[in-house]
Symmetry: C2
Subunit: 431 residues, 2 copies
Amino acid sequence: MKRTFFSTLILLLITALTVSAQEIQVNSDRLHKSLMKLSSYGKNAAGGSDRQAYTVHDIEARKYVIGLMKDSGLEVSVDFAGNIIGKKAGKNPALKPIAFGSHIDEVPNGGDYDGPVGSMGAIEVVKTLSEQGIQTDHSLEVIIFTNEEGGVVGSRALVGALSKEALQVVSSSGLTQYEGIQALGGDPERIPELKRNSGDLAAFLELHIEQGGNLYTEELNIGVVEGIVAIEWWEFSFLGKANHAGTTPMNMRKDPMLPAAELVLAVNKIVTSYEGKQVGTVGKIQAFPGAGNVIPGEVKVTLELRDLSSEKIWKIYSEIEQKAKSLASGNEIGLKIKHIEVASKPALADPMVREVIKSQAEKLGFSTKSLPSGAGHDAQEMARIAPMGMIFIPSKDGISHAPDEFSTQEDIANGTNVLLHTILELDKRLK
Amino acid sequence: MKRTFFSTLILLLITALTVSAQEIQVNSDRLHKSLMKLSSYGKNAAGGSDRQAYTVHDIEARKYVIGLMKDSGLEVSVDFAGNIIGKKAGKNPALKPIAFGSHIDEVPNGGDYDGPVGSMGAIEVVKTLSEQGIQTDHSLEVIIFTNEEGGVVGSRALVGALSKEALQVVSSSGLTQYEGIQALGGDPERIPELKRNSGDLAAFLELHIEQGGNLYTEELNIGVVEGIVAIEWWEFSFLGKANHAGTTPMNMRKDPMLPAAELVLAVNKIVTSYEGKQVGTVGKIQAFPGAGNVIPGEVKVTLELRDLSSEKIWKIYSEIEQKAKSLASGNEIGLKIKHIEVASKPALADPMVREVIKSQAEKLGFSTKSLPSGAGHDAQEMARIAPMGMIFIPSKDGISHAPDEFSTQEDIANGTNVLLHTILELDKRLK
């Protein structure tokens, strides 16, 4: 009897503690409602989202979001780059803010989740804390970044990495970034003034959909992002001799299509021959002049490699380059290789922040997986100045940047709860 | 002594006979001069010819050609399709005319020989006959066809194979064929009236540059065309799943680029595995959406097969099709195949005409080679209504449809002499 009494007591205590740990939860329905409301701005006939940055849909959606932020207890302003910044004071003004957020702009005919989940999630976290009467030691800062899809413009501006030339680039709205930022109420001339420096933030967190199929396929709840991969681009031009497809015998051809096709296969073979999560893609192939009745004189093939390690990317690339050269010479074909640009450098998540995300997710009862982010995010820019962490939730079928991009209400709430508890834990640890 | 005397006498007789056979020769310098004059119409800064049909350059060149034809003793008219027709009466009005000719229009930035050689050659033949006071039994007809490069328009009109839809196609001049024919002084509405029927011509001959490298590479003088190859076109669409190149792990991809690349290699392998002169070309390959950072959802590959035998084309095709299907299913990729159109049916040269061309060329001391024409020509349309023959001369490096298209003055004169003597021989044989 006694043992049963004590057992029951202990069980009750454990349950009480567990409930206590879990009792601070975001309001899943409210969060879902705000997400659905946001998705109505710029919804097109195909069910996709046309909320490109700087468009009327973006501007209207920002008004809605600003209202929501104010309602959540944030003090809201728009900075010179058009970023929406919401601040909530902490108990200890000596501590640097913990920042978190995402973006609400979309690619043309995009989905409703890439950006909005992390944006609405961030606001819901603050709303929940306000409701619960919880004031963190650190002040909190919710950031809704300007034009993520069109070149992580807002986050680059924040870390001082947005060039004057980048401001002149025409965005998918038709406006230049410069004009677009003005349309949001920013002042592109004064962007240098808003630059944050290393140490200005205690941490930066971003909740986001995975945009890939790892979590969905493996039926896992939460992705703990290891970092955002480096991206390198090249273009291979195989140069043969354009000729009449009817009058040129097979044995007199200098057809660059053949080594180009071999290279496509070699890229796949070489990239998959390495252990790890690196990816390699030939997304574009073009023959010139490109007519069915002309042997091409030139075939261009793009190559993109992504991995958390730049060193590994270059190791794989050098093997591909060697193969391309031997294919060209074997076919008596010329070869020009162009390294397009460093599309982006790797941005590693902070190990301590990763660990907190993982442990908080597990404490909440979620299964987790550590994985790299193959896509770029504002978090990768923010990693330049602050310990960074990203939380992923599953994307149905791994689809993204398309109308059928989808994450469940439950997964969104799960990710937002992980964000909430990661903030609370970091608030304790970062002193 | 006697033997020596007789031997000498016989030798002299043979020489006299040989000289007699060779004495009817075209004027190589005059022919070359008219070709060079013709090439001045539409010459561009790059040295290429911009004498597309219906342009001002084409129209001016036609005036020059009409003058030359009249000067050669031809009675000239322009038919409803804009074809320039030059007639020279024969001794026997009961015989059907022997026709010969080519075209003077060029592809944009084309060369000076594809078409002009056979056109100026035909006029030179008549000029030579007039000078020599030779009247053939058959009447002769020189035809300079309208817009060969833009769809063998004039010859199709002549044989009743030009559809009303084809007249609405916009030509490279910017005018529709309908408007272009009007610009040449034709009357597209009355084209049906000019239709020639089978038996209306005793024969049709066309002198042309090879546009390929067979004669040039093997250092031969004259090509005896076996026929104009059939051409068939297909488009293979490999259908995978467009996805983010960063977030989609290698083993979760449905990348249509891989089977498309395999097919390019298979086409080459299968086409060259057969004996013969067939050719197979992948001239165009396109990935959709076609961005360096997107795994394509679809890759389209064109296939063109050419051979004198349609049966052989379809046999080769069926092997390629089978390969494409197995590549698609092996990669879990969808496949759609579209047979574009019968770009053209095979047109065999008349065996007797071929034999005459060959024997006359050999009599003139020229080396010959029988070969198919991989390119289309007006002669292939004319073959529908008349025994057809084509004479090829070497093209330097096999180059055609380009500013550096070139044939020597000697080769051009050789081909024109073969044309002349083929006409004279056919005039005897065709009664």
